[in-house]
């Protein structure tokens, strides 16, 4: 493993070093450098500090572990691999991701999972341990979004979740009383099969962050899927 101190490195020098390295890398004192691990497939990264926007964009198989908070657009358009954040993340995590998994111990900002998609065996997953901001799963087209609402007294999700959702699945660890969903989705309490389906994600979340899967699963869950009989129309006009 190579150790790389990122203080005062600009993002292109840092990313060039990462690309050229022949083995896994631990980056320390990271502060705002963007695009870290972009398109990476052949080595894993550990990051201490605050990585900048678009962490792991187009990620293609590597694992990125962050000890700190991550900023906006984590895993933008990622294709494969894992991003594990031991903290909170900013807005637009998993933007248009089409494969791989993102695990977040803390809270997510606005628009987590915006336009996630799926194709055949490519099923991306975004697991958020805390709560999510407004517009969760906006225009979601595929994949799985799970929000657990642990360690958080806030509402599990902000306003306007699932706006424009037309594919994939969202599972929230809450009865979702008081959450207003749009007309274009079907909202129902989770069945046994739903929980079985997400068990592997929950298990992995617990392995990364030290929670107990059975404890987490021993709660009310709500499943949201698109309602194809009542497709999404519009939100931004006429309000």
């Amino acid at each position: 493993m190579i150790k790389l101190n990122a203080s005062n490195l600009n993002f292109d020098t840092l990313n060039e070093t990462v690309r050229k390295a022949k083995e896994d890398i631990e980056i320390s004192d990271c502060l705002g450098q963007r695009f870290i691990g972009a398109g990476l497939s052949d080595k894993n990264l550990t990051i201490k500090g605050t990585p900048g926007n678009a962490l792991g964009a187009y990620l293609n198989g590597s694992t990125i572990s962050v000890f700190g908070n991550a900023q906006d657009a984590v895993g933008d358009t990622m294709n494969d691999g894992k991003i594990i954040v031991n903290g909170n993340i900013g807005d637009c995590a998993g933007y248009a991701m089409r494969g791989g998994r993102i695990f977040v111990k803390g809270n997510a900002g606005y628009r987590a999972g915006i336009h996630m998609k799926a194709y055949k065996d490519k099923i991306p997953a975004l697991v958020i341990g805390g709560s999510a901001g407004s517009f969760l799963g906006e225009y979601q087209a595929g994949g799985v979004i799970i929000v657990l609402g642990l360690n958080s007294d806030k509402n599990i999700v902000g306003n306007f979740p699932c706006t424009g959702m037309h594919g994939g699945k969202m599972i929230l660890r809450s009865n979702c009383k008081g959450v207003i969903f749009p007309q274009n989705v079907r909202v129902s309490p989770a069945e046994k099969e739903d929980l079985e389906e997400i068990f592997s994600y929950i298990k992995e979340f617990c392995d990364h962050f030290g929670f107990d899967a059975n404890e987490i699963l021993n709660a009310e869950f709500t499943v949201i899927t698109p309602d194809s009989n009542n497709p999404y129309k519009q939100m931004y006009v006429g309000n």
Partner: protein
């Protein structure tokens, strides 16, 4: 090159701020440093800062910061100033010659007091009087532009990257209880010294990341009240809206936020009755001042700051704290550059104002 206001090109930016709730003084160094991790959010076509509490020796006079294209404009402008104010002090704003900042205009500052007899005969409130003179200079004197006009505060801005602009103006030699900063990536206008942020009127300053789509609707409304939008840039109109709502209409900061980033009607409908009625009233009364499109802004004012996102939160903004200080920035990295151990890092909701004030009597 055509100047700002003469051309419109069909924005990314960076904002940052720090304030001491105890009114402790900080030099401009930290706020300059905060812009370094966000360097790539700007493109070198504008950077600027506002400092509050920086002129304690002249705290009772309005500090006019003025750009002049050439020395011949000074005379025209000073004629207007002398007709309206007593000039207590006049000086060139000290700058450092650095290769990164070029083509600077003449940059002057005047500490002025309105002529009492004139105020009385015009029956004008002092602040309103100052606003009228600032508007007069900015619209009537070609080649002169007042870019800062508050008491015991000042804006400093230029074409360049913000870190360089801060060094250019020697902000390490000023001390203030609150600072805001901006790095510019202009998309609608070509980038001129006057068009850099912060925009200021009296003690209100705005730094803004975003691009508002309601510019013309807002401009048409605000120009009915004597404000002149001369630069075609959206941040200018936000500054005047803040002045209009807070100073002239007497709205609180929270109410102002509910006007410019009004919640959706569906959100309003689900509020408790009292709050619902108030929000309805504000949205109806000031419907032309709803600002749509992406923005994150920091409003600086005498003794405080307010940070606000558009209601859809189409721009990022993070808040953090450490001891007596509160930090606000487009990116967490900027906050950690100012204070690595910053706590309670929090991203406010769209339309949720974050208001921080210095304790009473501490500034």
């Amino acid at each position: 090159m055509k100047k700002e206001g003469e051309i419109r090109i069909p924005s990314g930016c960076a904002i940052s701020a720090v304030i001491s709730k105890d009114g402790n003084k900080m030099t401009g160094e930290k706020i300059i440093e905060s812009m370094i991790p966000m360097h790539d959010r700007s493109n070198g076509l504008g950077g600027g800062f506002a400092g509050y509490g920086i002129y304690p020796d002249h705290k009772n006079e309005y500090a006019l910061h003025i750009f002049f294209n050439d020395k011949y404009r000074i005379e025209d402008c000073e004629r207007i100033i002398k007709d309206s104010f007593e000039i207590v002090k006049k000086e060139i704003i000290p700058t450092r010659k650095i290769p990164e900042i070029t083509d600077e205009p003449i940059i002057m500052r005047y500490f002025v007091s309105p002529l009492f007899s004139l105020l009385r005969s015009l029956q004008l409130d002092e602040k309103e009087f100052v606003v009228r003179i600032v508007m007069k200079i900015n619209t009537e004197v070609d080649g002169a532009y007042v870019f800062s006009s508050g008491k015991n505060m000042g804006a400093f801005k230029a074409v360049g990257f913000p870190e360089d602009v801060g060094r250019f103006y020697k902000l390490d030699e000023y001390e203030g209880y609150s600072w805001t900063a901006h790095g510019r990536y202009p998309t609608n206008t070509p980038g001129w010294w006057g068009g850099a942020h912060p925009f200021g009127l009296l003690d209100y300053t705005i730094v803004h990341n975003g691009e508002i789509s309601s510019y013309d609707a807002n401009r048409r409304f605000i120009e009915m009240f004597g404000y002149k939008c001369t630069l075609q840039t959206d941040t200018e109109v936000i500054t005047y809206i803040a002045d209009y709502l807070i100073r002239r209409q007497g709205l609180s900061l929270t109410e102002t936020a509910s006007v410019i980033a009004a919640p959706f009607w569906t959100t309003i409908e689900n509020k408790p009755e009292k709050e619902r009625e108030k929000l309805k009233y504000l949205r109806t009364m000031f419907s032309s001042l709803l600002i749509t499109g992406p923005f994150s802004i920091i409003l600086g004012f005498d003794g405080g700051l307010m940070a606000l996102n558009d209601r859809l939160k189409l721009r990022s903004m993070v808040v953090g704290e450490y001891n007596d200080k509160v930090f606000i920035a487009s990116e967490e990295a900027a906050i950690r550059k100012m204070e690595i151990n910053a706590k309670n890092i929090y991203a406010p909701q769209g339309g949720e104002p974050i208001i921080v004030k210095v304790k009473e009597g501490k500034f």
